[in-house]
């Protein structure tokens, strides 16, 4: 089985038409579906949060069959993810895409569980500690994209589960849990 780093690739990754945007609707619908799943899987396993269209992305090229997705195709597949709510464009020019292989709500749930597991119900932590502190090692929160983390925290703040406050410097955003 072919691999891309640690990631196991499905058999159709070597099927050349997979890399050409298909015109026939039924065929292209299936093709788009397969690419959406593949992108989400790959990003989850490799912990990739942002795809930049103008940079090389290993998943979009296959050196074995010598095929690369065109810019048009990349945009089409990512747009499909955006339409499904599993991704967001970070800029109007559609050059950078935030991949939500967990939805924001899912991340929020993970944070709540993290807090409960570690007994942080009434504690205070900085945002940075949540993503890179000792407790987060080995959990899904380790190395989470800051943008996504802040969005999830804001969602929880809205639900009254915590309060976000600014510290003495801009790096020092803090969170008081009241889970």
């Amino acid at each position: 089985m072919q691999k891309l780093g640690d990631f196991k690739l499905p058999h159709f990754f070597n099927y050349p038409p997979y890399f050409t945007l298909q015109p026939v609707r039924e065929t292209s619908e299936k093709q788009i579906q397969l690419w959406k799943e593949l992108i989400l899987d790959y990003c989850r396993i490799q912990k990739i949060f942002v795809i930049r269209l103008e940079e090389e992305f290993p998943l979009f090229s296959n050196s074995v069959v010598e095929r690369t997705l065109s810019h048009e195709a990349r945009e089409a597949f990512l747009s499909a993810l955006v339409a499904e709510g599993r991704a967001e464009w970070l800029d109007k020019g559609r050059r950078n895409c935030l991949i939500l292989w967990h939805r924001i709500q899912e991340w929020a749930d993970i944070i709540v569980n993290f807090v409960k597991d570690n007994g942080f119900e009434d504690s205070v932590m900085t945002v940075e500690e949540i993503r890179s502190g000792i407790e987060s090692r080995g959990t899904e929160l380790q190395g989470i994209d800051r943008t996504i983390l802040v969005r999830a925290l804001k969602l929880l703040e809205h639900k009254g589960k915590l309060a976000i406050f600014k510290g003495t410097s801009t790096d020092d955003e803090g969170v008081k849990f009241s889970v």
Partner: protein, 465 residues
């Protein structure tokens, strides 16, 4: 516009209407007319100043609108032209032309054509007008022409001639005019651009006249032709009415002569409406059958399908003379629907039109394509239109149409790469997005995987290129 100036008429495209014998001499753009004091008129800004043999005309010039009127100062009203003083100040200013204009008792420019007395002593008031030239025109040249025109006093000659014999060409007495613009018989000499334009105008008029004469004959011819067309129309109407009122009792002779008539009308270039109603005029029917017969052999050679354009070329070449037009070809092919011929016209989605055997079946072609594209070599590297053409025994362009049709039916997928445009068997239907890694034991995917793994992927056999 103030009441000071004489009114000058303007054409619908904004050009001044010239008086009889009046000729333009010079033109300056972006000119302001300033009065000595504002009692007489207010500043006229940014206009076109036109010098003629009779007047100074000022037109408001803007690109947005066409001027509807203009102001004029008759040269006769000018009592003095000041010479330009070149001083240090004038180097930095826009050039100016100053002249003195006689003013009549009602505060307006003295207008000799209004017949109010002679050019002198109609009122001793005068006002100095300054023309400020802000544009890039030739100011000194204008001034020279201004002097010339003013001194030439053409308006006096005109007056004399018009009050004289009244002949249109105005051959009057030249009273003490010293050379310059006017030849000795009093007619205006052709000078400058205006002269060239005048000459052209005259040439046009004479050409026009000779054309008119020539056309007299043509008109006669055309009126005869009209009669012929009317006659043909009458006959056509008769044929039309004849056809629609046909009963089973109509004799063959009648039919025969009617068909002859249609034939004849067609050959004169008149398409009979009967063509559309019945099975078509004899001409197109015959052509259609002839074409069906002819196309049989090329079709066989081409493997059952031939491009319409190719068929057209072959047919005309075979005919040698009496070539048919593309329109005739199309009509002839369209008539096949109504006859019992073994060929038909077909239009692909891409717009390509072909002639194919009625016995041709798409399903059969797809079956052949499918068997071609599931061979191990084709599974690995796909097929190109050329490959398909060789296997199917038809032209590559036709083969491509078939491949595209097969793609639209979900049989094939396209692969576009630097290697070109290729087609593979469509694997997508068998893949489940919820279970991407699973491969059925006996599906096309497993066949493909087997074929792909026997040799390296991406290595192409050289025979297939």
């Amino acid at each position: 516009m103030s009441n000071f100036f004489s009114k000058a008429e303007v054409t619908s495209s904004g050009r001044p209407v010239l008086l009889h014998n009046e000729v333009e001499c010079h033109l300056l753009s972006a000119v302001d007319l300033e009065p000595e004091d504002h009692r007489h008129f207010s500043l006229l800004k940014s206009g076109l100043l036109i010098l003629t043999t009779h007047r100074l005309i000022w037109l408001l010039s803007s690109s947005a609108s066409t001027p509807t009127s203009a102001s004029a100062i008759p040269l006769a009203a000018i009592s003095h032209i000041f010479s330009s003083k070149k001083s240090l100040k004038s180097v930095f200013h826009s050039p100016r032309i100053r002249f003195q204009v006689l003013v009549s008792s009602d505060g307006r420019v003295f207008d000799p054509s209004s017949g109010s007395g002679s050019s002198s002593g109609s009122g001793s008031r005068s006002v100095v007008v300054t023309a400020v030239i802000r544009g890039k025109g030739d100011c000194d040249g204008f001034l020279v022409k201004f002097w010339d025109s003013w001194r030439a006093r053409v308006w006096e000659t005109t007056k004399i001639s018009s009050s004289g014999s009244g002949s249109a060409s105005g051959s009057g007495v030249a009273t003490g005019i010293g050379g310059g613009l006017y030849s000795s018989d009093g007619s205006v000499r052709m000078v400058g651009v205006a002269g060239i334009l005048r000459k052209e105008q005259e040439m046009w008029e004479s050409t026009d006249k000779s054309l008119q004469d020539a056309f007299q004959d043509l008109n006669a011819l055309m009126s005869k032709a009209k009669e012929m067309v009317m006659l043909a129309e009458k006959m056509r109407q008769k044929l039309l009415s004849g056809t629609s009122s046909q009963t089973s009792g109509t004799n063959d002779e009648d039919m025969g002569s009617k068909e002859e008539m249609q034939d004849w009308l067609l050959s004169v270039g008149i398409i009979s409406p009967v063509t559309k109603e019945s099975a078509g005029a004899l001409y197109h029917q015959q052509l259609s059958r002839q074409l069906a017969d002819f196309v049989r052999i090329p079709l066989e050679r081409a493997g059952g399908m031939i491009n319409l354009i190719d068929a057209y070329c072959l047919f005309n070449r075979a005919r040698g003379t009496e070539l048919i037009s593309p329109d005739d070809m199309l009509q002839a092919c369209s008539l096949w629907e109504k006859f019992d011929v073994p060929v038909m016209l077909r239009k692909f989605d891409s717009g390509v039109m072909v002639i194919q055997n009625k016995s041709h079946s798409d399903e059969e072609v797809f079956a052949r394509i499918k068997s071609l594209v599931t061979k191990p070599e084709a599974l690995r590297t796909g097929i190109s239109p050329t490959d398909a053409a060789m296997t199917l025994g038809i032209a590559p362009a036709m083969a491509k149409e078939h491949l595209l049709t097969a793609e639209s039916k979900g049989l094939l997928c396209r692969d576009i790469s630097p290697d070109g445009f290729r087609f593979y068997i469509n694997l997508f239907p068998e893949i489940d997005p919820c279970n991407m890694y699973f491969v059925k034991d006996y599906g096309i995917c497993s066949t493909w995987i087997k074929a792909v793994s026997t040799t390296g992927i991406g290595e192409r056999s050289s025979t297939f290129r």
